[in-house]
Subunit: 185 residues, 2 copies
């Protein structure tokens, strides 16, 4: 799906973005958005999987995974104009459509569809983050895993155990034990 | 500040919302948005302080505080049409302006200013949540407290220690010790 198709499907309008959104590809394991830089782009995934991670005293903590037909960006860095503390990288080979955030920001002054899309996209990531925060505050490791396989089976199916463990904030060995228990339940 | 003044100041337009936003008052400690209900409103604070909390096995965990000129709502409940698991209540007597989310949603189809405001408001709460999540993932208790007094001194100044502790996810006695250390540093 392209951004234009995404707009048609989710915002029910034939309007399109008033600027070009070039297609780019990223090789598996390459960095798409680096730590320490101010974000200039948002991306829409045509194919592939992307992760966002932070570095906590030398330890990688995965804070999000993104799949086809989802937007991603170190958007808080762009909004606050502070250097990003998130590393966004391609988990697999990826094809993405690129939005220049300065063009988007300028279009926000006058374009209904840009504001609709910006609002819609951030509503979705906001819901995802809130769900994750509540989960971390209220659930233990097995409950977090069960929630993940219920609501985001694609993460468990498509990611290596090590990455799922980093995403859940659980030691990989604990996650393996939990997976065995769940499989035999 | 009213919502119209907020729009003028932050979105740099004289446009106003295309529906009424009545003013309501809430007494200290009263519930504004209840657990188990689907959210129908968003609120803009004229005066007073509001908290959002979740119940984790009988224990209240405060996930957010809101101050004058900020919007609040159990917005994910409205967006997902799932019962809210957040309890939003007045920490002090409050005066708020009330947005009917169904009217807002309808206006999103055609109104530029509604989409601009919706996008802007959710961008702000998104940044707040991301900051909080990163803080919980990467910082210990004293670091979390130092971050709070640096970026949100109003919370430390205006809230009782018990509420600040619940917000930081720290035992109140630990927080008292940290405060003493910081005060003598």
């Amino acid at each position: 799906m392209t951004i234009s198709e995404f707009i048609k499907t989710n915002l029910h309008t034939d309007e399109v973005l008033p600027f070009e959104t070039p297609v780019e590809t990223f090789k598996k394991n390459s960095e798409i958005s680096s730590k320490g830089k101010i974000e200039r782009f948002a991306y829409f995934i045509h194919s592939g999987i992307v992760q966002a991670a932070i570095d906590s005293q030398g330890e990688e903590k995965i804070i999000d995974f993104f799949f086809p037909n989802q937007f991603f960006s170190s958007y808080t860095s762009f909004l606050t104009q502070c250097p990003s503390d998130v590393i966004i990288s391609a988990v697999t080979n990826c094809e993405v459509e690129v939005i220049d955030l300065h063009k988007l920001q300028a279009a926000y002054q006058t374009s209904l569809v840009c504001n609709q899309l910006g609002r819609y996209a951030i509503e979705k990531v906001y819901i995802k983050r809130i769900e994750r925060e509540k989960s971390f505050l209220t659930k233990n490791a097995p409950e977090k895993y069960l929630e993940l396989i219920t609501y985001h089976p694609e993460i468990v199916e498509l990611m290596p155990v090590k990455k799922v463990a980093k995403y859940l904030g659980i030691h990989p060995e604990s996650l393996s034990r939990i997976r065995k228990t769940v499989a035999h339940a």
